[in-house]
Symmetry: C2
Subunit: 736 residues, 2 copies
């Protein structure tokens, strides 16, 4: 029997070593390998042999001497060496035993297929905790459980039980796929192959009990054979490691493309029920991914076809102008299918500058119209015309990207309007193509030349929009890297201490899903205390004085009537509904009467009201909501929304990872559609949006300090005329 | 030389005859047929021969004795017979001459390829008028100009110059394609072929100078080989004939599927510039298509793949319950890609009833979760499990449609989870399939069995949502069929009189685009007159009295103070901005002062104000806007929107062809998101939405009468508490 002595110095395996054990192990064992290749557990050995994996393979099956014609070993400890990577394809309980054996033997990486863990209630959660415990004790790193496997198409390490991998000659490429869904690695592989698109490897990360998606991808960042990443996300579980990976990827110039389930409430429900995975509010996910510099697409085709364009167009640097697109076509109807969703996504499709237009006309001999669609239809599909137009557009400084939409000629006459695109493939500026007919040969030629190309107008628009939206991620403090929140296993990249006690229980998880954020946090400040916080942040707020409820005569106020009167207690957040607010109080007598009514209302709730808050009535041109909160998944966020119930119903808000700078705050203002009402919409008076931006920045600074605030909401913030600023007239602050 | 005597009795060609001349002519001539098959004008003869068209073909080319090895005729009049269908592929001026010759000879149908007509300014518009004139005088019917042709894949009449038709063995199917874009007939043909989907025929309708898309499709309604229609629309030009066709198709049980460009403002701009085609507001188009019983999809794949499902699911009858979908899967992650957009579209994805769940568990042996996604993942992909689940779901009364999402097994093991779907293809209830991996063989097998199947999750959701949204169209008065508005040529189906004088000039067209509706119409009523109209419609409105501006003492009012005072003149619609409104006027003295101020404000505009309107101040729980207007494209529309600037910014409104019934009005209320604020949102007091529905119905009745009103807008309509109704407090009415 073979045993490895535990070498404690070895606990910190370096990233490069982890990458090797994960993706190009010298030796692999398949625990539970079946003799029946038609069964799930029969697949890994078949796939490894079929692909021609060159390492050593050890099938483990205690019930058979032979599997698929090869000798089988009775157990891991019976192997002649400690395999670098063990794929465990047995059912749940046997898998637990195999993991324990891996730990004992000093195996570096095990991938676990079985389900019955965190997604399966308390018992499963306990199993998962045992897995993490083994990792923490032994240095074993685990992919899964519930992982359909990990595949490297270069080393041919086909450690997967996914039915779609049952073929030789799978194309290798330069992007790594990582997916919360095991089925999707088969979908991406096969759909990519049908398009001539290969991947460096594919990982089904399963429940991420130990290794998270971010850690697995992060381990490959220095792999020179990997140019970027394609993520299929169901959840933002482990947002911390995902963000750390994404920032490092951005720094390395390796783009990340993601599809994230959970656009709809219904899908988020499902995501919760089927994997134990959590999916929070979709716009929080959107803000997070954008803040990580990850390009998010909305179509499956876009996820498969998006990487070539992403590779060609760098993210937008802070303060750089919004990128602009030229759309040029031999078919206006077909091109409009692309323009339509592009424009709906807010992509800037520019008409040519006057000089560009003149050059276009001179070069093509066509009287090109001064329109946003550069329409060459009248010329028919001609090489010379298309090539001349592309040359002019590639030279035109107003464009960052040229999208060419080619009509029916693309099918049988690609030499006319497709070849000119291929002949521009090496230009400094990217040219992307959508071919309106089915044109497999032309698409293959475009792909072979590295021209980003798309099968559907929707995927084309989706990828172009996602690529142009991509920003250089801001270097914010990592969340929760700035406090002690250990990960489950020894972190091979960061060498932080590890325990498993801080893992959330399923109940936690459930509560978090319902609340969407950290509602079990600490004390709520009363309004005066909240105003003090605003004062410290430099946010203008209404003058306010506390008045004792018992007062016999109206106090002298430092501001004129009319005034607003409100309960001054921390734990009645919905003051209005509790009868705790009176507005437009016109004089001293009315003030005393209002105080008495409020006290009586609060008294009816069994509470003794000691003080009220008195403020002047402040009328603005409009009301907005500015909020800050620490989201448990993604950390500090700042939010801006139009005021009132309609904005709430329309969910019209802009979110960013906090803190934000002034440019970002201005972007947020532009993003909230309802704020158009304060920007001169239909001759309405404009508001002081500059000061609104500064206030947003100021509130977001809560993320930069000691982070004692869990949530702060100014609602409403009155927006006054330009130069007159903004004024908070109510604020709710909850500490952590 | 051959000439046909004009037979005036023949002017009214019956629909069946027109269909034959269009789609299966016994003889065709190609005017301008080139000897070079690589040229656009060389294609038709090549395609006809390649496809094996069995009729007589006459190439016409005055400059050659032979084209593509066949004898060429010098002119149409030199042919041995009058061809039934002439395809004219010459440039513009020669095409005009050929059309004239067709008219003279008594040709029944000519299709014109040339551009240079309505899309090309005044000169082109004049050419188009000449074409219509020839039609009116001679009985010739024209497709185009700017038509890439008309193809029947059964008769092999390949009258097209589209480059994508250059192959034999094009599959025939049972849906007819009609497209405003000529390029798209090639795209649909080739993309369909790649999926094994054929069409009965394809028509590029061009500028619709004579035959409109609706007329062409309508001529085929009694074709037993055509089961339905696929439309690619750029515009709602000729909405009248489109609607007439769609209603007849619905009556015949032939579904219509449409893709309509113009979701974005940018695309609408382009649509205007490139074809002279008009695209109005997108939600007007949506209301129109829905009102015609046309299923509108948003993806190109959905347009290609949608017909099998549409054929299986009838439109929802008035008052029937909302259809519900079961989603069953072997891969939760993959299925969520479909559920996500389905749920976002408002499709009712139902969890199984408790009895269904019990039967599912008994039949499959799986502890199926009581969730909206029926997840069979734990069983792996097994025939028996999937078949048993489908059998239960097909029997379950709560479902109208089963959507199956199959994971990786679909690629190489279709016998496991795809075959059970095929084995349910004949069930009374439709089963649709989305396969997550690339699985061409499984898709082909599904298609061959008639199972609706989809390549992308987006197309699947798009088609399912569009199909379930489809309603039996209401039998409204046709617009403008209820007044004399002759079509361009002799109407072969309706035999209405014909002139071309009523065609709009390009200037008209431009104005119409800008206005979106008929703003050049007649007199604006003053508010008292408008209230009289509301009274006649039975719509509650605020009491109101007119007061002379010159009055020396405050009048005795029939309602208490406070009151609102407004100018009472018809031609100052924006009263507030003109200083013509005072609110919350508290007593008689204030009233006199308010009248004086208003008169002064109006006087400053050089107007002599004679009377003001005085109304009580009415507070509601919320304000809404109810509007009616006669859209020049689609006719009478009723509109419902939440009140206020935010609702306007969010464009949150529901539109329907008018008049509407109560059920439809209730649907509209449910559709306006902002009206949630009046439906008990977050414990807010609910409003009298029943009365709001009745008011919407009442206003929509303007469409049923003599239609003298061009536009009527109640804004705001105050919504009171349930049982207390609604009250119009301002109204604007414009006559035609």
């Amino acid at each position: 029997m073979l045993r490895c002595a535990r070498d404690t110095n070895n606990l910190i395996v370096m990233s490069r070593a982890l990458r090797q054990f994960l993706f190009s192990p010298q030796s692999v064992a398949i625990v539970g390998q079946s003799d029946d290749a038609a069964k799930t557990a029969g697949r890994p050995l078949k796939y490894l042999r079929q692909a021609g994996y060159a390492g050593r393979i050890y099938p483990v099956n205690p019930r058979r001497k032979e599997v698929l014609g090869e000798p089988a070993y009775p157990s891991l400890s019976a192997l002649p060496e400690v395999p670098e990577h063990v794929y465990i394809v047995t059912p749940t309980e046997a898998a637990m035993e195999a993991v324990a054996e891996c730990g004992t033997l000093g195996v570096r990486v095990a991938t676990v297929l079985a389900n019955g863990f965190a997604e399966a209630g308390l018992e499963g959660e306990a199993r998962e905790a045992r897995l993490r415990d083994i990792c923490a004790r032994t240095g074993l790193r685990i992919i899964g459980p519930s992982s359909l496997g990990i595949v490297d198409l270069r080393s041919k390490a086909m450690l997967t039980a996914n039915a779609a991998f049952d073929e030789p000659d799978l194309p290798a490429g330069r992007f790594l796929v990582a997916s919360h869904s095991g089925s999707m690695i088969g979908a991406l592989l096969s759909r990519g192959k049908a398009r001539g698109i290969g991947f460096a490897g594919l990982v089904s990360v399963g429940n991420e009990a130990d290794l998270s998606l971010g850690e697995i991808c992060g381990a490959t960042l220095d792999d020179p054979g990997i140019d970027g990443y394609i993520l299929f996300l169901e959840t933002l579980r482990h947002a911390d490691t995902l963000r750390r990976f994404a920032l490092a990827a951005a720094a390395a110039g390796k783009p990340v493309l993601a599809y994230k389930l959970g656009r709809s409430e219904a899908a988020r429900e499902l995501a919760v029920s089927h994997t134990g995975a959590l999916a929070g509010e979709d716009d929080v996910a959107g803000a997070f991914l954008a803040g990580c510099g990850i390009a998010r697409v909305d179509t499956l085709d876009g996820l498969i076809e998006g990487s070539p364009l992403l590779t060609r167009l760098p993210p937008v640097a802070p303060g750089a102008r919004k990128p602009a697109v030229a759309v040029v076509t031999t078919t206006a109807g077909g091109a409009t299918m692309v323009v339509d969703p592009l424009a709906s996504c807010g992509v800037d499709i520019k008409a040519p500058h006057v000089e560009t237009l003149a050059r276009l006309r001179a070069a093509t001999g066509i009287n090109v119209a001064p329109a946003r669609l550069i329409d060459l239809t009248v010329a028919g599909a001609q090489y010379a015309v298309m090539k001349a137009a592309l040359d002019v557009l590639l030279d035109a400084p107003e464009y960052d990207l040229i999208v060419v939409v080619v009509g029916s000629s693309a099918r049988f006459l690609p030499e006319r309007a497709v070849q000119p695109i291929i002949d521009c493939a090496q230009a400094a500026k990217p040219v992307a193509a959508f071919l309106v007919p089915d044109a497999p040969q032309a698409l293959a030629a475009l792909g072979a030349s590295g021209v980003p190309n798309f099968r559907t107008p929707e995927a084309c628009a989706d990828v172009v929009a996602a690529t142009l939206r991509r920003r250089v991620p801001r270097a914010l403090p990592l969340w929760p890297g700035n406090r002690v929140r250990p990960s489950a296993g020894p972190d091979v990249n960061q060498s932080r201490p590890s325990t498993s006690q801080t893992r959330r229980s399923p109940q936690d998880v459930d509560a978090r899903h319902k609340a969407g954020h950290d509602e079990d946090a600490g004390r709520v400040l009363d309004e005066l205390e909240a105003y003090e916080l605003l004062d410290r942040l430099g946010i203008a707020r209404a003058p306010a004085v506390a008045v004792d409820v018992g007062t016999a005569r109206a106090p002298t106020l430092p501001f004129p009537y009319p005034v607003a009167v409100k309960t001054l207690v921390a734990d009645i957040p919905h003051k209005t509904e509790a009868g705790g607010v009176e507005l437009d109080v016109r004089d001293g007598d009315a003030l005393l009467a209002a105080i008495a009514r409020i006290a009586a209302n609060i008294g009816r709730r069994g509470r003794d009201l000691e003080r009220v808050l008195v403020q002047p009535m402040i009328a603005g041109l409009g009301e907005v909501l500015v909020g800050y909160r620490v989201d448990r998944d993604v950390g500090p966020l700042v939010m801006l929304a139009a005021g009132g119930v309609l904005a709430e119903i329309y969910r019209d808000r802009a979110l960013r990872l906090a803190p934000v700078d002034l440019v970002t705050a201005q972007e947020m203002i532009a993003e909230v559609r309802g704020l158009a009402a304060l920007a001169g919409y239909r001759n309405r008076p404009a508001g002081d949006l500059d000061e609104l931006a500064r206030t947003t920045v100021a509130l977001s600074q809560l993320a930069a300090g000691n982070q004692s605030v869990a949530e702060a909401e100014i609602n409403p913030l009155m927006v006054l005329a330009p130069g007159q600023g903004v004024v908070a007239v109510d604020a709710l602050v909850r500490l952590r």
